[in-house]
């Protein structure tokens, strides 16, 4: 019996992080400082925080790419590693060479490698699953195309399709909305709805606070330490957002604006909300009406 089948018997995944601390060197300040949180099965969580808050580090620790000095990650109540195939991780797109001579289908099939084991090649059934996942993301027509032909949004969808063929119980997406077109963003959000119906737990790192507020069940506010974790209405309060984003945050008439284009290091000076250099992101606590239409931030470019 494969680990996947075991995991399927257990059912949708429950994720627990206990006292996680990670530093990149013995002298370095902790990149993650004593994080503890619990994600019930099927929950959709947005992880938000300024640049350098440790969002990517947290994800890498959760899939075992980085080893924390303290704490542990439990999936289904078991230490990480017992559920080989049930966590899928989609890194930021820049982490691979998109000029590599492989087709879209080749890349998606890579998600099946773990269940194939050594020496076996993907078969007809694997191809069928891969094509179905590509169709779900609206890019099955591109299956035979070289990956170098794709736009940023299409690349993101290929990465997502590759995560889907792993048939994960927990899906970790690192900045899936950074630099993608609106069509791709809506497709991804639609997919997240479909995954919720399948009770797949989804954790997304994002710069887009409005998206986090409107489309997610829970928000985890991170700046090396866990500052808040709960429903968007409770987390997106002025004092919490200011605690996470420091001088990047500006509160105007009950609307919290965060300017991702400002460097995160604290310094004095006037707060430029929309000075033409970049667009601030804003988070509106539900129930509060902004005078102006909040502009979605394009940070992380």
């Amino acid at each position: 019996m494969s680990p996947t089948e075991v995991a399927t018997d257990i059912g949708p995944a429950h994720l627990a992080v206990e006292g996680l601390s990670l530093r990149y060197g013995p002298q370095a300040a902790p990149a993650l400082d004593d994080l503890s949180f619990d994600v019930p099965e099927g929950m959709r969580v947005a992880v938000v925080g300024p640049n350098g808050a440790g969002k990517s580090t947290l994800f890498k620790a959760m899939v075992g790419l980085l080893r924390p000095q303290e704490g542990r990650v439990l999936v289904h109540g078991l230490p990480f590693g017992h559920d080989k195939d049930c966590v899928a991780y989609v890194p930021q797109r820049e982490e691979v060479d998109w000029g590599f001579p492989v087709s879209v289908l080749d890349v998606v099939l890579m998600g099946r490698y773990a269940r194939l084991g050594w020496l076996r090649r993907p078969g007809r059934a694997d191809r069928a699953v891969a094509l179905a996942c590509l169709a779900e993301l609206g890019i099955d027509a591109l299956a035979q195309r070289p990956i170098g032909d794709l736009s940023g949004g299409q690349q993101q969808r290929v990465f997502l399709a590759r995560a889907l063929v792993q048939e994960p119980h927990i899906l970790l997406l690192d900045e899936p909305f950074a630099g993608v077109d609106v069509t791709s963003q809506e497709l991804v959000l639609g997919l997240l709805d479909a995954l919720r119906a399948r009770r797949v737990t989804v954790i997304v790192a994002t710069h887009d606070l409005q998206l986090a507020a409107e489309r997610f069940d829970q928000v985890l506010l991170l700046n090396r330490r866990l500052l808040a974790y709960g429903p968007p209405a409770e987390v997106f309060r002025a004092e919490l957002v200011k605690a996470a984003f420091g001088h990047q945050a500006l509160v105007l008439d009950g609307v919290v604006l965060v300017d991702h284009t400002r460097p995160p290091a604290p310094h004095s000076g006037a707060v430029v909300v929309d000075g033409g250099a970049g667009h601030p992101a804003s988070a509106r606590p539900p129930g509060t009406v902004a005078d102006t239409e909040p502009i979605r931030g394009g940070g992380g470019a």
Binding site: Y89, E95, F100, P101, V102, S103, D106, M110, Y113, W118
Partner: protein
Amino acid sequence: MMPGIAILDWLSEPLRYGFMQRGLLASVLVGVVCAVIGCYVVLRGMAFLGDAMAHAILPGVAVAYLWGANLLLGAAVAAVAVALLIGAVTRQGRVKEDTAIGILFAGALSLGVALISSTGSYAVDLSHILFGNVLGVARGDLLLIGVLGTVVIGTIALLYKELLLVSFDPVLAATLRLPVERLRILILLLLAVTIVASLPAVGVGLVAAMLVTPPATASLLTRRLPTMMVISAALGAVSGFSGLYLSYYLNVASGAAVVLVATGIFGAVYLLHPRSGWLRSRA
């Protein structure tokens, strides 16, 4: 005389000699093996590493020479040692990778030259090791090239999907629990084995060209890795074959002739290319 018969004569004349038959077989085999593993060298950006590794095995060859042992055996021992050393130094990340390779490469090359120069027949032997002597390939060498080449191509075929994944996306490979570090070392070892097998034909100085040039040409012609490997292997074989004939008729050094053919094909493909971009390939 009919032109067809003239060509046949032209082709068959060198084959009357046993050393030419062996040389032709050796250079075609080396051309193919280098061209296939060379696809990974090109895609992983290991060209400098391949060249450095080739030069860094010189001390092993020199020691074997001084002790009267088999030169290829000395090369093999040195190549494996160098592969593991480069793997270890580059993993730590305290010295930049290309700097570490540069240091190892120059140091080992100097050690090799120093050892060989301490013997009497420095110039002749060194030139054979540096640039190959494909016409001096013995039966035993040919057998060794065949066995090592089969090991390299067989491993690449068996572990195709693992090597592809670890080269394209080591992060996914790690989350799928593939032994990324061991696979990286395996690629270095395959490279070392290939270089040893290539020594009699093209020498340490020219093996890097056979590792890089045919795959680079193939990468201009296709955007699928399996197709790239096949085209690259064909180009390697053609270079090995026609280079040796050129060497016979123009009386130039065989290793150099083989590399010049490969370089000429690359230049032609690059220049005749429709755009500076890629040719479309649906293969």
